[in-house]
């Protein structure tokens, strides 16, 4: 048996001041959901619990009060959130994401989790812009806790500089644009225009058994306009020539059984379930 894997908790960083945006980035709405809600939902299927990182003065904010919180303790910036989470539960790993990544998708997160190396201090993506580690979409293992605290107490506040010098597994991003963040109203408008132009939004699909073999892959992120899993399955059947009819399958969205008519949202993780055969 393998050594037990430290469980994974999720942390959405939403304690910034959003100075360049001019308004709270976590509260910005995109396709009917706030950035904070969207990030929380992306993490939920992958983690045993999901928390929002806040400054002490944000605890009562209605948007943030709805979720379990991790409150900054004595440091500032994104590093403070990561540090507070590691203090709150030093025995688990933290999947940390910033709330201002409008193009982040379930596939990018699943890829990170599936390739996680718990023997390192962290598993992170190599930035598609400058090849350096991206600390704000990364898994911080328990082993990084003491070293990171010592980094902070030496007056260094940049989590990126910490990862540059730490034993980190660096992965290439499956979708290079997925970690583009937005700091200004122009960034936000560009992200929205990008979605509007394609008409679709990213949906992550995982395949098992016969569907995996027929699709020739375990997972993919598709840009789809499908409103329901039924529509999505029709699109994918045309693409991959699946032989199983939909009425023999069940469907799960974000790791829960759902109806074929359940509305699909951007970033949903969908699994079509062929007839099962346990035992």
């Amino acid at each position: 048996m393998n050594a037990p894997l430290p469980p994974l908790r999720g942390l959405v960083l939403a304690g910034g001041h959003s100075r360049r945006m001019g308004r709270d980035k976590a509260a910005l709405e995109h396709q009917g959901r706030t950035q904070l809600e969207r990030a929380m939902e992306l993490l939920r299927p992958l983690c045993i619990s999901v928390h929002v990182s806040v400054r002490a003065d944000q605890r009562q904010d209605p948007l943030r009060a709805r979720f379990p919180q991790v409150v900054d303790r004595g440091f500032e910036g994104p590093a403070a959130g990561i540090h507070a989470a590691q203090q709150q539960d030093p025995d688990c790993a933290w999947l940390v994401v910033a709330c201002d990544l409008p193009l982040l998708d379930a596939g990018t997160l699943r890829h990170l989790v599936s390739r996680r190396d718990p023997a390192r201090m962290a598993t992170a993506y190599r930035s598609s812009h400058d090849e350096l580690p991206e600390p704000l979409c990364a898994i911080w293992e328990p082993a990084s806790g003491a070293a990171f605290e010592s980094h902070l107490t030496r007056g260094k506040h940049c989590p990126r500089k910490f990862l540059i010098n730490a034993d980190v597994l660096l992965l290439d991003q499956p979708r290079p644009e997925a970690l583009d963040n937005m700091n200004t109203p122009e960034d936000l408008a560009a992200a929205q225009a990008r979605h509007a132009a394609s008409g679709g939004r990213p949906i992550h699909v995982q395949y098992f058994a016969l569907l995996r073999e027929q699709a020739g892959r375990r997972e993919e992120t598709v840009e789809s306009t499908a409103r329901t899993p039924a529509e999505l399955f029709r699109e994918l059947t045309a693409r991959h020539r699946f032989t199983l009819p939909a009425d023999m399958l069940k469907v799960a969205i974000n790791s829960e059984f759902r109806d074929w008519s359940h509305p699909l949202k951007e970033g949903d993780a969908v699994v079509f379930i062929p007839p099962v055969a346990g035992g």
């Binding site: 048996m1 098992f208 023999m248 829960e256 099962v276 035992g279």
Partner: protein, 156 residues
């Protein structure tokens, strides 16, 4: 620890049985599913199990909770193998400890029956003839293809 688990390594029943042991329990029933060398008239040489684990663990846990409530048992565990299995290996293990034998037997039976029908696990049989097939998938596909409406697939 979850009461329903997947194991990528061979299942060792002894520690599982030990976990169920309790002074208040006078009966223990276990079921083991083994890899058999034939199925539906074909000689089978090995099996491959694949699972959608996050949903499988949640559904397996629901089944065990149902069994405990329905039959009044307190202690039950189920472990299902995934990966490549040879003949005679244990594919699934179910154990139930209860005050008396009757509820232990019935809860054990309920758990294995429900697991087979509800947990997202898939079984691929490899045959002596060299080919292979996903159980419950390939034949149904042919039925659908032939517009054979006679036998709807049970997939509750």
């Amino acid at each position: 620890m979850n009461r329903f688990r997947f194991s990528h390594a061979p299942i060792d029943a002894a520690p599982l049985r030990e976990q169920l042991h309790h002074p208040s329990c006078g009966g223990f029933a276990a079921f083991e599913g083994w890899v058999r060398d034939h199925n539906e008239g074909r000689e089978v040489t090995r099996l491959e199990y694949e699972a959608f684990e996050p949903l499988g663990v949640a559904e397996g846990e629901r089944i065990i909770a149902e069994a405990c409530q329905r039959f009044g048992v307190e202690r039950a565990l189920c472990v299902h193998r995934v990966g490549d299995l040879d003949l005679k290996e244990v594919a699934v293990w179910v154990g139930v400890a209860a005050k008396h034998r009757d509820e232990a037997f019935r809860a054990c039976r309920y758990i294995i029956d429900e697991v087979k029908h509800r947990v997202p696990i898939w079984k691929k049989e490899h045959y002596a003839t060299g080919d292979s097939g996903w159980v419950n998938c390939e034949r149904c596909t042919q039925h659908a293809h032939n517009h054979d409406a006679g036998r709807a697939h049970v997939h509750s």
